[in-house]
Symmetry: C2
Subunit: 197 residues, 2 copies
């Protein structure tokens, strides 16, 4: 009667997350995972299909988790919401770095990306908040610019590339410039075309 006694999807995923979050994808092997569960490696294949399938499942869960944290901005005015979303986004990337890059790394070549349900929901949430500020629903251009900056900051910090002196305020500067641009687009679009502000 070993500890978890049975292999359930939940138990497997929980153990997989533990290995992944401290040690990265390299530490999430089938053998270490089996050992953590008190089981032989091959037993996992009755539940998991393959290592890649397991990673895809975890990636989908990571997308859901990030989306959940981004809900923190609910009810705020548009600009404050986008600033809050940015903080939540970076907080997620900082506290769960391996979950974050699993989320954005296509596991299989030419695979999902963010074209999974959770990924699309995530993008939809971003689009909606950006649209609230610029006044254009489905404002893909501004949303791409915003997301590009969010990911750039998350990736550089996660890789330790800002150095020990940190981003030196550059993250706030860049985010501020982008939000200002979006806000300006909103003001312009709320007046008759050609009219001065």
């Amino acid at each position: 009667m070993p500890y978890p006694a049975k292999l359930t999807p939940e138990a497997i995923q929980a153990a997989a997350w533990a290995l992944l979050e401290q040690g990265g994808p390299a530490a999430l092997g089938m053998r270490p995972l089996a050992e953590a569960l008190g089981v032989r490696p091959s037993s996992l294949y009755r539940h998991v299909g393959s290592r890649e399938a397991l990673l895809s499942t975890l990636a989908e869960q990571a997308a859901s988790a990030l989306r959940a944290e981004l809900a923190a901005a609910a009810g705020l005015p548009p600009r404050a919401a986008l600033a809050t979303v940015a903080q939540a986004y970076w907080h997620f990337a900082r506290t769960r770095p391996h979950a974050y890059d699993l989320l954005l790394t296509p596991v299989a070549p030419q695979a999902p990306g963010l074209r999974t349900p959770a990924g699309k929901a995530l993008w939809g949430a971003l689009l909606e908040r950006v649209g609230a500020l610029t006044g254009h629903p489905d404002d893909t251009g501004h949303a791409v610019a915003y997301w590009t900056f969010l990911h750039g900051a998350a990736a550089l910090e996660r890789a330790g590339l800002y150095g020990q002196s940190g981003p030196q305020g550059g993250v706030e500067i860049g985010l501020g410039a982008l939000l200002d641009r979006m806000e300006a687009a909103g003001h312009l679009s709320s007046r008759p075309a050609g009219a001065p502000a």
Copy 2:
């Protein structure tokens, strides 16, 4: 008398680049590399130390190559220079994707980052051009914002996360907003403090 006849650092690195650029780090194994050189795998260890050491060497060379391409903006006025540097940066990331993420991925955990000679030179070049536009030498804040956006766009496109519809102009929007902000900082600083523009 096999083709390259002897194992030299140059021959090894050339073969390693060939494997890396088409196939990524996964394709750069010690066995394939040895086979490409007409040699037994263990022979490589007299010249290379380890696979990680080889990857670090290639990363350093990638940094130098990127820096060389960024010199394309020499002689241009500040704003045009930064726009040109951005295009060159993205061109490098697009045409040599594996070299690009080798460049920015710390090979060993808690390792270099960009704290190598070539990495520092790269950062120095960016800092100088940003300073020319904002009027502040060593304007780390604006340089970080600029680099963050450059990397974000490179990384998202490289990962295929913009989808098949592409960035939808979002890259130009974001870059424009950042350059405008830098230019504004330059105008402000060239006038007496507190004076209106």
